[in-house]
């Protein structure tokens, strides 16, 4: 039993390593994505998002959010 477990360990470790490395790559990908977003957030260009359009009595109301 003991020897079987010993034999299993490298295999288990390899799978764990592979999964961990894959996840690590994804997390670094997330950081890269966040970094790109950070570069876009220049002081003036912070997202200005219209929640509702101008609602004057003469114009039809436009309340569709526009994600610009």
């Amino acid at each position: 039993m003991m020897s079987r477990r010993k034999n299993e360990r490298p295999w288990e470790l390899k799978v764990t390593w592979t999964l961990s490395l894959a996840m690590l790559l994804l997390v670094f990908g997330f950081f890269y994505q966040s970094f790109q977003e950070m570069l876009q957030i220049a002081p003036v260009q912070v997202a200005v998002e219209r929640l509702s359009g101008p609602a004057t009595p003469d114009e039809p109301e436009n309340v569709e959010p526009d994600n610009n």
Partner: protein, 410 residues
């Protein structure tokens, strides 16, 4: 199954190595801390948005006349040649302040909300997506300035983004009502928001109580409590309220984003419950019982039936890895003053099913990992678990030091 989180936290640093000349580790740690502090300071200075510039950009063709009192929020602007007022005000979201610009217009019977602009927010993108999809923003179209602007009254929240919805609504309310009183000279007829302590808050408190019961009683009652907490964590903390703890919460505290108890009691219940259980009992009750993503991983592991082991050396290396990842994340967060930007956990995405870019891959990868390694994310990647266990360790150290002192004193 032995609860890996229940076991004593991993033994601190990597095995103490004998001194071999230059103390690289200490230097590295020093540099890391210095950079974090520098990033924090830079972020606080550089990430301060120029709201007036943003307003001018958003309202082309309008001449804004600001007040001398526009030093700290709220800011008030008149629009030259028109009977409109634009107010910039903030509310408290889940990740930090939410800032909106609101244009109020005089009408025959008072005033109405003519336009609203979101100028900045610190929310997790998934929450904002949820608000968009839930048509939350539509509710503000054409509202009277004398309306209450209270979630649960004249504004409906969106399930899974309740705190963001409340934060945004409070920002709108602060702005609109200020404009109504100061510029449109209306008498306040609207209601003030009261203490928000309803069913949701009561359920969260109940879950904490049951988690304590489950932790201390090993009889039938303890088992029922544990089962209820497991289901409650997944359904309520996860899918319904979506209030999992994340690195963004921890970083937000450092950055002073602490919401008011009156408006965000859920945040306070969570923090007091989690930190209180550590301080009072030395137990990380959140990771042991209440984390909904832990429940998801346990379910995945039960489905697969596979339990690959992680040896202690690997686990210790993983601990260093989590510290390194959270350092990178904190650098991003501090530089941008935006807690959600560095929060790499898949929680918000899992429970709102909204995500951006690569987040869509982190979630399935973490579930795939937990099909093979029990609590894969908790043990190898979760910064919240690591930091909470660090606080547990700190408490133990302090306690041991005090008991030694007491014994020495006797």
């Amino acid at each position: 199954m032995t609860d890996p989180i229940d076991s004593p936290p991993p033994a601190g640093e990597l095995p103490a190595e004998p001194s071999r000349g230059f103390p690289w580790r200490a230097v590295l740690e020093g540099v890391a801390w210095t950079l974090l502090v520098a990033a924090f300071i830079i972020g606080q200075i550089a990430a301060r948005p120029d709201y007036e510039k943003m307003l001018k950009q958003a309202l082309p063709g309008e001449t804004l006349v600001g007040s001398d009192a526009n030093v700290t929020l709220p800011f008030v602007y008149r629009i030259e040649g028109k009977d409109d007022v634009v107010i910039i005000a903030a509310g408290e979201g889940y990740g930090g302040p939410l800032v909106v610009g609101v244009r109020a217009r005089r009408t025959e019977d008072g005033g109405r909300l003519a336009e609203a602009l979101m100028l900045s927010h610190k929310e997790t993108p998934a929450f904002m997506e949820r608000l968009h999809r839930g048509n939350f923003f539509r509710q503000f179209g054409g509202k009277e300035v004398s309306d209450n602007f209270i979630v649960g009254d004249d504004i409906d929240a969106v399930s899974g983004a309740t705190i963001s919805a409340r934060g945004l609504t409070s920002a709108m309310r602060n702005a609109v009502h200020l404009g109504a009183v100061n510029h449109l000279k209306l008498e306040p007829t609207w209601q003030q928001p009261g203490w928000i302590f309803g069913v949701n808050e009561a359920v969260l408190v109940l879950l904490f109580v049951l988690a304590f019961v489950a932790g201390y009683r090993k009889d039938k009652i303890g088992k029922y409590a544990a089962l209820t907490v497991t289901v409650g964590a997944l359904v309520f903390i996860g899918f319904y309220a979506n209030v999992s703890l994340s690195l963004a919460n921890i970083a937000g505290i450092f950055m002073g984003y602490i919401p008011s108890l009156r408006q965000h009691p859920m945040w306070w219940i969570m923090m007091i419950g989690v930190l209180g259980s550590i301080v009072a009992m030395g137990r990380n009750i959140y990771c042991q019982r209440l984390c909904p993503f832990m429940v998801v991983q346990d379910l995945a592991q039960k489905v697969s039936g596979v339990k690959l082991k992680i040896d202690s050396r690997f686990q210790r290396r993983a601990r260093t890895l989590i510290f390194s990842l959270s350092w990178v994340a904190l650098m991003l967060i501090f530089l941008t003053a935006h807690p959600a930007l560095g929060s790499y956990e898949p929680f918000a995405m899992m429970f709102s099913l909204e995500g951006l870019g690569i987040q869509w891959y982190i979630l399935p990868a973490s579930i795939l990992g937990s099909l093979f390694v029990p609590r894969f994310w908790c043990r190898l990647f979760c910064p919240v678990g690591l930091y909470l266990n660090e606080i547990v360790r700190l408490r133990r150290k302090i306690r041991t030091a005090f008991s030694r002192k007491a014994v020495g004193g006797n």
